[in-house]
């Protein structure tokens, strides 16, 4: 029977591009190669033009194609400057010549009622490149797993061609679809057109909850240990206020990885990383193990096919590489001491048809990852070793709310959660969230004995009587 998801929190508009569309097929016709070879943009861009060749897709060629179309569209078929793409190429070219960017520092623009989702951007050479004098970014909340219907994407393309530059990121680093370059006047129309016609909201920016993102999960991965898509959607919807209206000390990122392979990099990039794991035994198909040993199934799903590595050697490639050495071959049978397994996924990745994670699945929660600004890069620290998770994920929401509360109360301006944990100590964090400490949270105990003993931990407290002391010790 097909799995039934809990369903959306708000009604979703039906999407039919033929009804939604703005442009005709003729308007959307792409130029022929011949037309492109004749086409010159208004600026000389010899440096960028060196990047039109070479096998990797060329962003310069792509932008020139779009520039060609914007020359052809009628005046009333675009509400942002016609020259946006050409002037962008021109400005990037002089940036390469000068070895310095030509974007001004920030600029406060946005849509009413939201504190995030729009980043203001202005050129510092607007006379030379008037098309990009105003070139604001809009972050659009991507769909879970980054799956799309072409009806949705084509509608976004038409909207963005009409009201912006036609240049976008699929996707930005945090996960959003990013619309690059529009004018202030079009921000509200873009926002409300998306909301009304496409059931599509903006993402986060600034000191708020940034747009959560997830891996492909159960949609097309046998390793997914919980429903990354549903949890990402549920958490995104439960914290819409935190996402759109900045009230935190700094940014806060949440990412959902379905297993310890970590395809969305949650452990390095999110203030709260949700990583799928299991607590029972790895499932073994001994027949398939034999097939791997016999060379009937390529190891690692065929990832090494491009080179002759010789015959698959289960001892050298799997058993000896196990980080806890908890595996062995016993008379042709693979045995695993699951109690010592740390669930690194190596054996499962290498022999996916023979080994599968257990069925008692859940998540580990880790906290505090960030890029180097300011105290140096940090990875997320293990907080909750294992947690069962089911929609609507109240246990995860409750912990996340406590984290927000503690960070709100103690965090300094522009202090990420990980820096606060470092400043105050992991034990203070655990205390605030209501977690007992455990050796799993550290690589090793401290080497210095500089314990900040609390007064109540020491019999008699910190009040000392020097006169009493002196009755036993002469000055």
């Amino acid at each position: 029977m097909t799995f039934q998801p809990p369903g959306p929190k708000v009604p979703q508009k039906e999407l039919n591009y033929q009804e939604l569309r703005i442009y005709t097929d003729e308007e959307l016709r792409n130029p022929s190669d011949e037309e492109m070879k004749q086409f010159k943009i208004k600026h000389d861009i010899p440096l960028l033009e060196q990047l039109e060749s070479g096998p990797w897709p060329s962003f310069v060629a792509d932008m020139k194609v779009e520039a060609w179309r914007r020359r052809k569209l009628a005046d009333d078929r675009m509400f942002a400057p016609r020259e946006m793409v050409e002037d962008l190429l021109g400005q990037v070219e002089i940036s390469l010549v000068h070895g310095e960017t030509h974007w001004k520092h920030g600029g406060i623009v946005g849509v009413s009622g939201y504190g995030g989702g729009v980043i203001g951007r202005y050129s510092d050479v607007p006379e030379q490149f008037p098309g990009v004098a105003h070139f604001h970014t809009i972050r659009v909340n991507q769909t879970g797993g980054k799956f799309y219907k072409t009806d949705h994407l084509r509608a976004l393309c038409d909207l963005w061609e009409l009201r912006g530059s036609g240049i976008l990121n699929m996707h930005g680093s945090t996960g959003d679809i990013i619309f690059l370059g529009t004018i202030t006047e079009q921000l509200e129309p873009i926002f409300q057109e998306m909301a009304h016609h496409l059931s599509q909201d903006l993402g986060g920016s600034g000191s708020n909850l940034r747009t959560p993102s997830d891996c492909i999960g159960k949609a097309r991965c046998e390793f997914a240990l919980y429903d990354t898509q549903e949890m990402c959607y549920e958490i995104t919807m439960a914290f819409q206020d935190e996402l759109h209206r900045p009230m935190f000390p700094y940014k806060f990122k949440v990412k959902f990885d379905g297993c310890p392979n970590g395809c969305v990099a949650s452990i390095a990039r999110s203030d709260m990383a949700v990583i799928g794991t299991w607590r029972d035994n790895i499932r073994i198909d001994q027949e398939a193990v034999k097939a791997y040993i016999a060379g009937e199934i390529p190891p690692n799903a065929g990832a090494f096919k491009g080179r002759d590595w010789g015959k698959f050697d289960i001892q050298a490639e799997v058993i000896d590489r196990c980080p806890t050495k908890c595996m062995a071959l016993d008379g042709g049978k693979l045995v695993i001491n699951d109690k010592e397994c740390v669930r690194c996924m190596h054996c499962i990745n290498t022999m996916p048809r023979a080994l599968r994670p257990g069925t008692a699945t859940g998540v580990s929660l880790l906290f505090g990852a960030k890029a180097p600004i300011l105290e140096g890069a940090q990875m997320a620290v293990l907080g909750v070793p294992f947690m069962e998770v089911e929609p609507p994920y109240d246990n995860v929401k409750e912990i996340l709310s406590k984290v927000f509360e503690w960070w709100d109360e103690h965090g300094k301006m522009r202090e990420r959660l990980g820096e606060l944990i470092q400043r105050m100590g992991l034990q203070r964090f655990c205390e605030a969230i209501g977690l007992p400490v455990a050796p799993q949270m550290v690589w090793r105990p401290r080497a210095n004995p500089y314990v900040f003993w609390k007064e109540e931990e020491v019999p008699g407290g910190f009040k000392r009587d020097i006169d009493d002391y002196r009755t036993r010790h002469a000055r």
Binding site: G7, P8, V10, E19, L20, I22, L51, G54, P55, W56, S58, E66, R69, V85, L88, V92, E100, W103, K104, H105, G113, Y114, R121, N141, T143, K146, F147, Y148, K149, T150, H152, L153, I167, L168, N169, M170, H171, G172, S173, T174, L180, P189, E193, D201, K218, R220, E222, Q240, N261, A265, I267, P298, A303, G306, R307, W309, M345, A371, I373, G376
Partner: protein, 395 residues
């Protein structure tokens, strides 16, 4: 109802709150899944990479789905996006997806369609000859470089992103379309230390970096910035309040303390750092994100500075390629770049790659001592003999 083609659409500037819709979040993911994904959600048994860029996933229901992965450009236009939609409409019933590393994936259930799809994708080229949708990026390969905005949209970069990524991927193209490496190699790129690309856990990272302290726009510091905020923004406490000769409030900077992080510029537009001679590229290596075999680890600085040699960055390309080639030759199967380096030792890494070990590579920030080798366990290389000679220990 169609999208509006009037200037303001459904938005009424006279009554901005009229019929306003907010807080609706993203589209519900389920509605964008192809039927085969809906039918097999959570039921996948295993997958196999049939050839570089082509995967098959097999479900416990017996159904199969084939995926063709192609390189995407993070920065693209609606022209290329519509072309990707044309392909998805023709072969994939109007569905497609993007990966976290900016690739595009086309899913089909019919093996016959798979061949036609592959052929179509490989045939599409820009007028200038570049592929539009090259197939690859699976298994023991180098897949797409995640990157930042650079000169296309950012006010703080120390280099450009799109140009460097294009130049480097042209060089590494055979590693994208093949699966010849000992393990996957993740290459990432960020234009400055803010690292919106979070490259700090990549096998190979390319990072833009400033090398000159901020220029101080004295007449504007007080107008544009809150001076106390700027002072505390500096992690090295190098900034203090000051006055100009004509009595304006400004700041002064102890230049020898500056580590060029740019945090002050984030707080104050009157303190720009970018500079043609100062800015360049740092190369880091040996990081990883996955928990496979060993724990996730940070990338380490292996080249402190390479010039911003636009637009093709020959020095960056040569360094990255050299690291990949030496790794490909020396590492064992399944061994990530960082695990290989830890096995052979960093001294051997510098010997094998020929990358000079300079004093810039020795940490002198917080917790630096933890990176100093407090042991007699080391391997001899020419670098060690040079120290011995300098110390008068050998002739």
């Amino acid at each position: 109802m169609g999208l509006s083609s009037t200037k303001f659409g459904v938005y009424n500037p006279e009554k901005p709150n009229e019929n306003r819709i907010t807080d609706i979040g993203p589209r519900y993911y389920w509605d964008f899944f192809p039927p085969v994904i809906q039918r097999n959600y959570g039921k996948w048994l295993y997958h196999e990479i049939l050839e570089p860029g082509v995967l098959v996933h097999v479900s416990e229901t017996g159904e199969k789905v084939y995926t063709v992965r192609v390189a995407g450009m993070r920065t693209m236009t609606v022209a290329l996006m519509r072309e990707a939609c044309d392909i998805a409409d023709k072969y994939c019933d109007g569905y497609l997806r993007f990966t976290t590393r900016n690739n595009i994936e086309f899913l089909v259930t019919d093996e016959a369609k798979l061949e036609a799809l592959k052929k179509d994708l490989q045939s599409r080229k820009f007028y200038s000859g570049s592929y539009k949708f090259p197939i690859g990026g699976t298994g023991a390969s180098i897949t797409n470089i995640v990157h930042t905005q650079g000169y296309v949209h950012c006010h703080t970069p120390a280099t450009d992103a799109s140009t460097m990524v294009k130049a480097v991927m042209d060089e590494l193209f055979d590693y994208f379309t093949g699966m010849t490496l000992p393990a996957k190699v993740r290459v990432s790129m960020a234009c400055c230390l803010n690292m919106c690309g979070a490259v700090h856990c990549s096998d190979i990272a390319m990072l833009g970096y400033h090398r000159k302290p901020p220029a101080i726009d004295h007449d504007y510091v007080a107008k544009l910035c809150e001076i106390p905020t700027v002072v505390v923004s500096c992690p090295m406490a190098a900034i203090s309040p000051a006055q100009t000769p004509d009595g304006k409030k400004t700041v002064k900077i102890k230049e020898e303390r500056c580590m060029f992080c740019g945090n002050c510029y984030t707080m104050c537009p009157a303190l720009p750092l970018s500079d043609k001679e100062g800015d360049g590229v740092v190369i880091l290596a040996g990081g990883k994100l996955s928990n496979r075999i060993t724990e996730p680890k940070f990338s380490k600085v292996v080249v402190a500075y390479l010039p911003n040699n636009f637009p093709r960055f020959p020095e960056v390309c040569a360094t990255v390629k050299k690291i990949v080639e030496v790794y490909a030759q020396g590492a064992q199967k399944h061994e990530r770049l960082g695990d290989w380096i830890e096995r052979i030792g960093w001294e051997r890494f510098f010997e094998k790659t020929g990358i000079p070990f300079t004093e810039h590579l020795i940490d002198d920030y917080r917790l630096a001592y933890d990176t100093y080798r407090t042991s007699t366990l080391f391997r001899y290389t020419d670098a060690a003999w040079a120290v011995s000679k300098a110390a008068g220990g050998i002739k």
